[in-house]
């Protein structure tokens, strides 16, 4: 015997639909802004990457060339060099140094001795100064500091007898990456310090006390209690700083414009020169797409590795 419904299900009243729609309506403004300022340009950039189009023809449709732009970009030896520069010299070196220095400084600022010191708040505030300096101003100031003839750094080194004449730090292949990395780390380090410091301060003091009673010395407390508890925040900092730095254009462009020669060319500056110096919008867009895909793959692998345990 089958059981049949005796009546059709009642229609849901309007206020139930209103309730269901409410969350979508609440996220709509943010979604519209994202679509307009992010998704739109991103999709346009992807479309451009499959066209041959001069900067002067922008606004008109270019010639569709399939994967030609990608083939050209990926087989160009200078792209390989830019990728190595971007990955190793710009990103890995500065992210690792920022994490090590940031962790060290945060631990120092969080130390009991330091927090009892009356001027502790002043030092914590001063740490933020580079972070509030616009990158353009920071690079300009550093270029002056590193100037071969008038720069304070060279004057100091000559003064103490370390060198006989000023070194053009940004024009020599042996020093240029070190100089760019110094500028970047100086400007971006406070973010790492402050974020780790906030995480450190959220670790309850009872955990350190329990560890002291358990017999842990200061080094064991840091390595076996504090560091494992910082792991989530260190993971997020690593992810964010890697993506921000890999895509960064400002430091290299303002400091050297990719020079001397192409020595410090990174993917972001290559994308810019291809698009706005060589006027080849399609090829430039293809560099941008390649960069996005690399970072997307990095983020996926990173999340897989970091959150595998959970």
């Amino acid at each position: 015997m089958s059981v049949l419904p005796t009546s059709a299900p009642a229609e849901e009243p309007a206020h139930v639909w209103g309730k269901k729609l409410e969350p979508y309506l609440l996220v709509l403004p943010a979604m519209l802004i994202l679509a307009f300022f992010f998704a739109g340009p991103a999709i346009y950039n992807i479309a451009l990457a499959f066209q041959e189009l001069s900067l002067f023809d922008l606004g008109r449709e270019g010639r569709w060339v399939g994967f030609d732009n990608f083939a050209e970009v990926l087989t160009d030896p200078s792209t390989g060099q830019s990728l190595i520069n971007t990955t190793v010299w710009l990103t890995v070196v500065t992210v690792v140094l920022r994490l090590v220095l940031g962790l060290g400084l945060a631990l120092l600022l969080n130390a009991t001795v330091f927090s009892r010191w009356k001027l502790g708040w002043l030092v914590r505030s001063l740490i933020l100064v580079p972070w509030v300096t616009p990158p353009v101003v920071a690079v300009a100031a550093w270029k002056w500091l590193l100037d071969a003839r008038y720069g304070v750094v060279n004057q100091f080194l000559v003064g103490i007898g370390a060198i006989e004449q000023g070194i053009p730090f940004l024009a020599r292949t042996s020093t240029v990456w070190g100089a760019i990395e110094t500028m970047l780390i100086w400007r971006e380090l406070p973010f790492v310090v402050i974020t780790i410091l906030a995480a450190l301060q959220s670790i309850p003091s009872e955990l350190r006390e329990a560890a002291r009673i358990d017999g842990a010395n200061e080094f064991q407390i840091q390595t076996r209690i504090v560091l494992p508890l910082l792991k989530p925040v260190l993971a997020v900092i690593t992810l964010l700083t890697t993506i921000w730095t890999f895509n960064n254009f400002v430091y290299v462009w303002l400091a050297t414009r990719g020079g001397p020669g192409d020595y410090t060319q990174v993917l972001a500056t290559q994308m810019y020169t291809t698009s706005f110096v060589d006027y080849r919008m399609g090829a430039g867009a293809a560099v941008g797409v390649v960069m996005s895909l690399i970072m997307f793959a990095f983020a996926l692998i990173y999340f897989f590795v970091i959150f595998r345990e959970k």
């Binding site: 309850p204 009872e206 955990l207 006390e209 329990a210 560890a211 002291r212 009673i213 358990d214 017999g215 842990a216 064991q220 076996r224 209690i225 494992p228 508890l229 792991k231």
Partner: protein
């Protein structure tokens, strides 16, 4: 097992004196409870015993040896914190084994045996592989106690260990701690609480603190029956002792007369009269709050079956032998 002796112990934070000179001896295997209102210095005193705070002046002596400068881990103590203080990234097993892994001379097998023994005592063996966040509040507190047991301490310190638990769990864990003390009668236990019921039910002796000084030390019954001050009389016992002043007490030759709710009876020929403000029926007993013209209502304990209405005028009489007389300085007149 260790005896603890505090000699003229003082602790200041900057210009602020928290512990103002304390002399106390805690015997081997004794369960001593520090009790007092917020800010009286009881937790600071426990932290001084643990070594987590430095002593400003005076002596801390364990088994006849001065330990003022001895690190917490070297004092042979274990501590249970109010917030449990379990390491969130370690499993229950690793939390309990952590202290032993830091000490030299323990094989993995020895550590496992000791952790499992403590886990069995507290019935937490099924949770050894879990993380603290996967446990309930009561289970976490048992793990914290288990971590302390694993270290086989001479002195067990408890800092308000039941404060974060709900009422039912508090009673259950209190019983568990009392049982633990019975099982580990060689271990000296020092317990801090602001809850005088915990103090009364757990302690061999209670130390009542007030403003960084000891107000009275004694067994729970001594404190209940012979309070050394108005403060102790008001702090120990629930509901607290009633205090009468003014013309009613002139005949007794004192400034304040203390009488507990359970030591008064409602009777038609009672010597004092009061109007019922409110009555709380707890089933077995009921507490009747009377307005007798004092600063605070006078509480009388009656049988749970008694029916009392608000606004009713009642007469009460105290048990004469249970009256406590205090002078103007709050000291008892014996």
């Amino acid at each position: 097992m260790a005896s603890i002796e505090l000699k003229n112990l003082r602790k200041s934070f900057g210009a602020f004196d928290v512990i103002k000179g304390i002399d106390l001896r805690i015997e081997k295997g004794e369960f001593m409870v520090f009790v007092g209102p917020s800010g009286c210095g009881k937790s600071t005193l426990l932290r001084l015993i643990s070594g987590l705070e430095d002593i400003t002046s005076g002596d801390m002596i364990f088994d006849g040896k001065r330990v003022n400068a001895v690190a917490p881990a070297k004092r042979g103590i274990a501590m249970v914190f109010q917030s449990y203080a379990l390491y969130p990234h370690m499993s229950v097993y690793d939390n309990m084994a952590f202290g032993l892994t830091l000490e030299r001379g323990h094989s993995k097998e020895d550590i496992r045996r000791r952790v499992e023994k403590a886990a069995d005592m507290l019935q937490i063996r099924p949770y050894l592989d879990r993380l603290p966040k996967q446990l309930s509040g009561g289970q976490r507190q048992r793990v914290a106690i288990g971590r302390a047991i694993t270290r086989d301490p001479k002195v067990f310190l408890f800092d308000e260990p039941l404060s974060n638990l709900d009422a039912a769990l508090r009673v259950a864990t209190r019983i568990e701690i009392a049982r633990l003390h019975a099982d580990m009668d060689q271990v000296t236990m020092v317990y801090v609480t602001h809850d005088q019921v915990e103090a009364m039910t757990l302690a061999d002796r209670i130390c009542v603190l007030r403003d960084g000084l000891i107000e009275q030390v004694g067994t729970p019954l001594e404190l209940y029956e012979h309070p050394a001050s108005l403060f102790v009389a008001g702090f120990i016992g629930s509901p607290k002792m009633n205090f009468l002043t003014g013309p009613k007490v002139e005949a007794y030759g004192c400034a304040t007369l203390g009488i507990r709710g359970e030591h008064m009876t409602i009777r038609p020929d009672g010597i004092w009269e009061g109007t019922v403000i409110h009555a709380e029926n707890l089933g077995s007993d009921a507490y009747v709050y009377l307005d007798m013209g004092e600063a605070e209502p006078v509480v009388v304990r009656v049988d749970g079956t008694a029916t009392v209405k608000s606004g009713e005028v009642l007469r009460v009489s105290p048990l004469q032998e249970r009256l406590h007389r205090f002078d103007a300085a709050g000291r008892p007149i014996r």
